[in-house]
């Protein structure tokens, strides 16, 4: 571009505006708007700012300006603005800016405390404050009140929680009872209240703590209510046996108080009433009756037997109902009254007339009157066992129907003396000892010892080498037996017997074949007329044959049957011996027997029974042969007999009436008869003792 000579055109310059609006840029509206916003925010912040509340604390550990919050129901409703000291430096003033919406409710009744982390047996509270730092908790009611700017904070959290109302009581610990801060007040296992921080009473005698019973449980409290400590546990061994008391593990650790309204008719409790916390339930119960001394009827009783086991507070019962307790135990020596210097047991009985159930109130006098009547009817006091376990005693009032008359005496000092009767004490220890002794006396040890011995013997018997040998011996015996049976001689026996029998058979057949019978018959028929006696004599011959037959049969049945039978009997005897009760000695004897048996068998085999038998059989055969020969001779004999008979017949015919001939013939007949009888006796002898034939003896 070349530079032109012509001057540039005059720039149009807008003349300055006459009025202000033309001369001021609209951009100024921006800072103006910013300013307005700032002012608006500032005004709003200021107008919504709540009042400043000054809370005085004993110490303000952890409270920091600008950080620590004021909370109500765990919602932040304010912020600490300043922490300073009160004049004199005795308190810390914490200035809290409270939200405007809750400020009207903070009135003179409001309570403030600093929430710090706490670790107790009941748990950990305020754990959040470990990390976030402490905060101030406020508690006030739901109605707006007169505004306050200064208020005193509490050193600790109050008993109430938000939304909890209740009855404030003052609990005073008695004896070993302990009050633990924050411990629960438990009723039937439910926490119905809480104990505040305990402190020592002004007189230093006990500790006291405020307790709050939450509504609606506060109606459980009246003037007859008694509190007792349930912390820890108690173990007692008394007339009622062993007792272990503790309510809950939590209470065991952290402590706790429970209560019960034991009698009706109490007046409603008012806030701030004083109550005593007893160490245990029994004490609490006892206190109820200690409270109305006028209603206690005190009687005394003297017991002959001075037996350990009765303690103060032991029950006094009437028909099983507890009407009082033993209030004191004393020894008494009164020679004038009892006649000797023995120490007797004097028991004071605290009887509660109310328990007697009398009509028209249970006054002391009414009760005494009633007791007078009862004693007249036979009411007596006696010692009785209360607990079998501990041997504790109690006093029983019983009606003894045929008791000697007595009455309630009034002795020196105004004491009333109740008549007593025999004690009824179950001596458990004695009974138990008896039982144990009886058990002890049982001969258990002997029985056991015998059983052990028996077992040992059985064991020894079974395991003894001799018993173990039995099977071997039996085996050997059987072997021997088998050997005997298997011996060639025995094997040969049947054959031999067979031969004997054959011979016998032949003999008999010969006899049959000889037709002697017919001849004899003829002879006999001839002789029959002559003499009956001859006939009788001849009639012995078939008998002889029958006998010989029997002999043969015997000889047949004798052989192995008998031997076998005897062996069987022997084995059976051995068997019986083995099965016998004399088992102790058995094996040895058995063995010996078996040994002998074997020996016998060995002898039998070696020596000769078989040979003997064979010989016997041989003899038998000889005998049979002899018989056969005899038989063979028989025709001759018979012929002779025939001749004789013919002679006799001739003679008889000749001398029929001759006495002399008849006499000779009779003598001959007698000879024949004798011969026949001899044969018969021989046959009978053989029949009687066939073995003799066999054995040759």
């Amino acid at each position: 571009m070349t530079q032109t000579a012509t001057p540039p055109p005059e720039p149009p310059v807008t003349p300055a505006g006459r009025n202000l609006i033309d001369r001021i840029s609209v951009i100024w509206l921006v800072p103006l708007a910013a300013l307005l916003v700032v002012l608006g925010v500032a005004w709003q912040a200021y107008s919504e700012r709540g009042p400043l509340l000054e809370i005085a604390f004993d110490n303000a550990s952890g409270v920091r300006a600008g950080t620590t919050e004021l909370r109500y129901r765990d919602v932040t409703v304010g912020m600490v603005e300043d922490v300073s000291f009160a004049p004199g430096l005795d308190r810390v003033l914490v200035k809290v800016r409270v939200d405007q919406e809750v400020a009207p409710y903070i009135d003179g009744d409001a309570q403030f405390w600093v929430v710090r982390p706490q670790v107790t047996a009941r748990g950990v509270t305020g754990l959040g404050t470990v990390l976030s730092g402490v905060y101030i908790e406020g508690l006030w009611d739901n109605s707006p009140g007169a505004a306050v700017t200064q208020i005193t904070g509490l050193p600790d959290a109050p008993l109430e929680r938000v939304g909890q109302d209740g009855l404030r009581l003052m609990l005073r610990a008695q004896g070993r009872a302990s009050l633990v801060e924050g411990a629960p007040v438990v009723y039937r296992g439910i926490e119905v209240g809480r104990i505040g921080r305990p402190r020592i009473t002004a007189d230093g005698a006990s500790a006291e703590a405020e307790a709050l019973i939450f509504a609606p449980h506060d109606r459980l409290i009246n003037s007859a209510t008694r509190f007792w400590d349930t912390s820890g546990f108690s173990f007692s061994l008394g007339p009622a046996g062993a007792q272990l008391d503790f309510s809950s593990v939590a209470a065991l650790v952290s402590g706790g108080v429970t209560f019960e309204t034991m009698i009706s008719g109490g007046t409603a409790a008012r806030a701030g009433d004083d109550y005593t916390v007893y160490p245990e339930e029994s004490a609490a119960r006892a206190s109820l009756f200690r409270g109305d001394d006028s209603e206690i009827l005190t009687l005394s009783a003297v017991f002959e037997d001075n037996i350990a086991g009765l303690t103060v507070d032991a029950p006094v019962e009437w028909n099983g109902l507890r009407i009082g307790q033993v209030s004191a135990l004393n020894g008494v020596v009164d020679e004038d009254r009892f006649g000797d210097g023995r120490v007797r047991l004097l028991v004071d009985l605290a009887i509660r007339p109310g328990r007697l159930g009398l009509e028209g109130g249970a006054g002391r006098d009414t009760a005494l009157e009633y007791l007078h009547e009862s004693v007249a009817r036979g009411l007596r006091a006696r010692l009785a066992s209360a607990s079998l376990l501990t041997g504790g005693l109690k006093i029983e009032l019983v009606d003894v129907p045929d008791a000697p008359p007595a009455e309630i005496e009034t002795i020196e000092g105004g004491d009333l003396l109740l008549p007593t009767t025999e004690s009824e004490i179950a001596d458990v220890s004695a009974t138990a000892t008896g039982v144990f002794e009886r058990i002890n006396a049982l001969p258990i040890e002997e029985v056991m010892a015998e059983a052990i011995t028996l077992m040992q013997n059985a064991n020894a018997l079974v395991s003894s080498s001799e018993t173990r040998d039995i099977p071997g011996s039996v085996n050997a015996l059987l072997d021997e037996t088998r050997g005997v049976i298997g011996a060639p001689e025995v094997q040969a026996l049947p054959a031999r017997l067979d031969a004997v029998l054959t011979e016998m058979e032949t003999l008999v057949a010969q006899i049959a074949q000889e037709a002697l019978a017919s001849k004899l018959s003829a002879a006999l028929s001839d002789a029959s007329a002559a003499s009956q006696g001859v006939s009788d004599a001849v009639s012995g011959v078939p008998d002889l044959v029958a006998r010989l037959d029997a002999v043969a049969q015997k000889a047949e049945s004798v052989e192995i049957d008998a031997l076998a039978a005897e062996l069987t009997a022997l084995i059976r005897s051995a068997d019986a011996l083995i099965a016998g009760e004399g088992a102790q000695a058995l094996p040895g004897t058995l063995n010996t027997t078996l040994e002998e048996l074997r020996h016998v068998l060995a002898q039998l085999r070696e020596g000769g029974v078989v040979e003997n038998a064979t010989a016997a059989l041989g003899s038998a055969r000889d005998a049979a042969d002899t018989f056969a020969e005899a038989g063979r001779d028989l025709p001759g004999l018979i012929a002779e007999a025939q001749a004789v008979l013919e002679q006799a017949r001739g003679t008889l015919a000749g001398y029929a009436a001759d006495n002399g001939v008849g006499r000779d013939a009779r003598a001959a007949m007698r000879e024949v008869e004798r011969a026949a009888r001899a044969v018969s006796s021989l046959a009978r002898a053989i029949e009687r003792n066939p073995n003799s034939l066999l054995l040759g003896r």
């Binding site: 001057p7 540039p8 055109p9 720039p11 149009p12 807008t14 300055a16 001021i24 840029s25 951009i27 100024w28 921006v30 800072p31 910013a34 300013l35 700032v38 950080t67 990390l131």
Partner: protein, 208 residues
């Protein structure tokens, strides 16, 4: 020295195109053409005041709130730098201090000085004034580094219960302050530096 105005031209401050005087709108980018913006100085002062107004709470309120398990810590800009320096982080402390304090403060001073110089005249040479203006315009955006640091930290460190970093109220004001000062610097018409150096009669002298 001849200016565009002397040559009967008007330059577009946005796209740098020159157009004949009297052209209302830039033929290229369409922005309004002023040979000299009569309201420029007012805009500069308005944004400058706003920026300064925001810079005050930006330094009073905490810039960064660090909540850890056991403590809550809130630091202002200077306080944070001092804490860092106390822990020995001199380098980081210096960077923060320069970026968040030195530069904004210098920017306020320079802008005010330039605007005053244009209005009433100054002893500084035009070249130097222009150099200062260039530096202010260039370096102004770096002040945002602190805002970036806060933004990054607070988005990264969000471990709920353990540790949480949240930007404090100052971060908003600081960002606004930086924005307003940048706008202020942008509103400044650097051509006026050159106008102010020339006596008004000079213009007429040169007119033939």
């Amino acid at each position: 020295m001849r200016t565009a105005r002397d040559m009967g031209l008007v330059g577009c401050t946005r796209c740098m195109r020159v157009a004949p005087l009297g052209t209302a709108l830039c033929p290229r980018c369409g922005s309004i053409l002023h040979s000299r913006d009569p309201m420029a100085l007012q805009k500069v002062w308005a944004w400058w005041l706003l920026g300064l107004g925001c810079y005050i709470p930006a330094n009073l309120y905490p810039m960064l709130e660090t909540r850890t398990l056991v403590s809550t810590q809130s630091d202002t800009i200077v306080g944070g730098a001092v804490t860092l320096a106390q822990h020995g982080n001199w380098g980081v402390a210096l960077i923060i201090l320069v970026a968040s304090v030195v530069i904004p403060v210098a920017k306020f001073l320079v802008l005010a000085g330039l605007a005053f110089g244009v209005w009433r005249g100054t002893r500084l040479s035009q070249a130097r004034q222009h150099l200062l203006y260039e530096i202010v315009e260039y370096i102004g955006r770096w002040s945002m580094i602190d805002v970036f640091v806060v933004a990054i930290l607070s988005s990264l460190v969000q471990l709920q219960a353990l540790a949480t970093i949240t930007p404090g109220r100052a971060s908003l004001f600081f960002a606004l302050s930086v924005i307003f000062t940048m706008l202020s610097a942008q509103s400044f018409d650097s051509r006026m530096i050159w106008d102010s150096a020339r006596p008004p009669d000079d213009q007429e002298d040169r007119q033939p």
